[in-house]
Subunit: 436 residues, 2 copies
């Protein structure tokens, strides 16, 4: 088995369903897609290092999760069904105060395992001790854009420390020289970062030519407080601070009005919809997908952290998005299945500036195979409908990222070791918090 | 393998997690639970016909789906993202016009397979050609309460035919003499059944001492039309017709006002929440769980048919319910995980008058095992939170109904045959509809 996983090799994936057609896919040993089509197998059956029998599976570009706090997988199920402020102040923050770099490593390992299992090949992450997150991502074989959550709480002293921490992470990630791991700048939100902090983040991101990852308009309070403090709504405040760019991913976006959507469209901002988290925490409004799409913004999808979802399955998230858009905006034709699928894959890749998100010759091979010999894909009247409304990530059997096999026929190497290590770290973390 | 599945035998389930405690479960060869506790294994390791290694899995009572149209699994993904009336008149009804008894058999087989896989051991079904549904349920080994969808469209002639069809099904199901398969009376809804039809259904159900299964207050139009026609809201109209009883399951219940909830509570009606279907079809309001629970009604959970969900996974449905209640009623503390779990199991069993829905000595053994050596249950801070918010039915590894093993370690006998037969039936059905 060791020879199959995590290495560069040429791969022939035989007998899969690509956009409704029976096809084979060839992956070059440099990790790019070499060919897609009927009969590719006859060309490459002799020279491929590895042959995968697709058995009629649906071949798709891997999912891209555009808003996560991966290491929070250690907090999965630790506290739920609470009011946001109580949940944060009584449960989440006291536990996070005891987090060690080792916890971030194991939490990110667990998150990457779950992502590989459910067909996600890239994610956009904001947290702290991100050097350890980078180590876990390096081992897991998927892609990530990592940022340090910049929170200055309007204090000049704290701001200076946050700038340094941001610079440090970016230099560290550059030093890894791993094409799968990128850095971004992570001003947390307008209610935790001063205008000066936001402006520094914008300038630093532009100077380093990297992206920005921020929370935007998650709650109504954020909007009303912003109107009080700045006399304008959050998106306009971000525009003033230079945060709106085509490399910016704004998470949540629940309370944007139509003018703010137009503003995000003007700059080509990516808006990461996090429907499960928003519903669970009762934000009381759904991201206006239709306004954002019409304005030319890039609506994409994210799970948020495992403390507020409580999983990282982008298939489940895409269904929740499709249902919530219809329900909240009172129109059953909104966010149809093909659009929800695109949002979870292609739009996500675009948000992170990745060349992936579609299956095409010459692109990096980020490919997942979804079983069709399974009840959620029976009958198969319409693949997009089944993928969004009927299946979940559990139907993914094989995950390939950058041409490397990360899961094959449901097997992920080292799974047991990762589950054991993460469970142990979580127990120890809760123990430290309770005994303090 | 054949010796394990679908037979009466004594079973020792060793090393499972029951309500947070390590325990073993013994199932008598009459299908009832003989013992639950730590160390049961030492008593029965010699005499058990079958020993199942639970490997630390969570043992739960099986899920009960209180509103389905099982055979519609053949229509899964056939038409989505449409306005209700277009969807019905342009897609669903034309296809249903070509349904044969064989289709209902294969559709119900497929549905039962999916339910067994995702931990559902009983369901409440409304459709037609239900003799074939009963045949499929008989073979599948789970429990069902089946009704013929009574639709008289306010015509006395049609009403007579519907009464006969209802009587015929009940006699047929009685003749099967299968304790797992029960009949109920199925007046479709107030907008498809005349007051005379509703009254006949109520009287017939009382006479036969069986339950009633009806759609109630799914859309706002149902309420406004009812106010126009009868000068009262739907629940009050049902009360007038005698439909509200402690053996009545009312599906959807989206648009109930507080007085109607009180009415349902007064009669002990079961209200089946179908959140995915309601969101997908944009009903624009969520069942008032908190009013129903406070009034003493029995809130339970259902998936609706696969044409409007598009799956039968009660774990996913329970999460959607927990999220939708919080979101729509704007309170993150509503429908916490333990209540959502109870709604999907115990309350469902109560709705169908089943003695199951909990794990207790002497009760029929309807037991499911949910894996813990899996990312959705890692870490395991809180089992109810993980089950509702993190896992899905894919985490179920073993399903036992009435003491018979239906799935063991993810293996369901005849799965391939069922998938192939159902896929063939669905293709043929679409072919007939398109060539007509």
């Amino acid at each position: 088995m060791e020879e199959i996983f995590g290495r560069q090799q040429s791969i022939l994936i035989a007998n899969v369903n690509v956009d409704g057609n029976v096809a084979d896919i060839y992956v070059n040993d440099d990790g790019t897609i070499g060919g897609i089509g009927d009969g590719i197998r006859w060309e490459h059956r002799e020279d491929a290092d590895l042959i995968i029998d697709g058995n009629g599976a649906l071949a798709l570009p891997g999912m891209v999760n555009t808003h996560a706090h991966a290491a929070m997988s250690l907090l999965r199920g630790y506290a739920d069904d609470m009011i946001l402020q109580d949940w944060l102040s009584q449960k989440i923050w006291p536990l996070e105060a005891h987090l060690t770099p080792d916890d971030v490593y194991w939490g990110t390992k667990l998150a990457c395992l779950e992502m590989v299992r459910t067909g996600t090949v890239a994610f956009n992450d904001m947290y702290f001790m991100m050097e350890e997150a980078a180590r876990a991502v390096g081992e897991a074989g998927i892609r990530a854009t990592l940022c340090y959550g910049f929170i200055d709480l309007f204090s000049p002293e704290k701001r200076e420390a946050e700038c340094k921490a941001t610079e440090k992470l970016i230099h560290h990630i550059r030093s890894l020289n791993n094409s799968r791991i990128k850095a971004s700048v992570g001003p947390h939100a307008i209610y935790t970062v001063s205008p000066e902090g936001l402006k520094w983040c914008a300038e630093f991101a532009a100077q380093e030519k990297i992206g920005i990852h921020i929370h935007l308009s998650e709650t109504e309070k954020e909007v009303t407080d912003c109107l009080t403090a700045h006399g304008k709504r959050p998106a306009a405040h971000l525009e003033d601070c230079g945060i709106l760019t085509s490399q910016t991913v704004a998470a949540h976006c629940c309370w944007l009005d139509e003018a703010e959507c137009t503003l995000l469209g003007k700059y080509g901002v990516s808006a990461s919809h996090n429907p499960s988290s928003n519903m669970k925490l009762a934000t009381n409004r759904a991201m206006p997908y239709h306004w954002l799409a019409a304005a030319g913004a890039n609506p994409c999808l994210g799970t948020d952290g495992c403390a507020s979802n409580n999983n990282l399955d982008m298939f489940k998230e895409a269904k929740t998005a499709a249902l919530l858009q219809k329900f909240f905006w009172n129109n059953p034709t909104l966010l149809p299945a093909p659009d929800a699928l695109r949002m979870a894959g292609n739009n996500g890749a675009k948000a992170l500036g990745l060349p992936t998100g579609k299956l095409a010759v010459g692109l990096p091979a980020d490919i997942i195979l979804v079983r069709t010999d399974i009840s959620c894909n029976t009958p198969l009247h319409n693949a997009a409908s089944n993928l969004i409304y009927s299946c979940s990530g559990a139907a993914v059997e094989t995950t390939i990222c950058n041409g490397q096999v990360l899961m094959l026929d449901g097997i992920v190497p080292d799974e047991e070791k990762i589950l054991t290590g993460a469970a142990k770290a979580a127990r120890s973390l809760v123990g430290r918090a309770q005994s303090s």
